[in-house]
Symmetry: C2
Subunit: 86 residues, 2 copies
């Protein structure tokens, strides 16, 4: 593996968990007034696109990264709708 | 260009603007209490990694996408720090 490959895998692994601190914060605080619903709707739709792209290329790094992000953005949409007014 | 290429470019273009609705919302509302600072710090560091990766591969799709996201996550960090208690 080249150093570019290693950096790419490390960057991809970190990308997958970008939303995790927000999920934990919103889950604990039960407050989501300041969160943009549109941001997570865009992310959700976008990750479906990336998943389809990953399957077309049979690239499991893309598939796994975006499966994790799809789950987290879906969960954030649910938290936003539940805790919007608190 | 294959249909996979077209989907990849469309997905990448959408990814670049994922944070935009949050930037606009926080800018207008001047309230960032519910926003996770850690999420945008992770995103900021992660986009520097992707930028380096993009330059190593000389891939301008990766470079441009992550330059946009780096700017937006840096701006969100500034907004979070400014409006955290409002």
């Amino acid at each position: 593996m080249s150093s570019a490959d290693i950096l790419g895998y490390a960057a991809g692994a970190l990308t997958a968990f970008t939303f995790l601190p927000q999920v934990i914060k919103t889950w604990k605080s039960k407050s989501a007034k300041d969160i943009s619903l549109n941001m997570f709707i865009i992310a959700f739709v976008n990750e479906i696109m990336w998943l389809v792209y990953g399957f077309m290329l049979d690239n499991w790094v893309i598939i796994l990264t975006n499966a994790v992000m799809l789950g987290m953005s879906g969960f954030m949409i649910a938290l936003k709708l539940k805790y919007n007014h608190q």
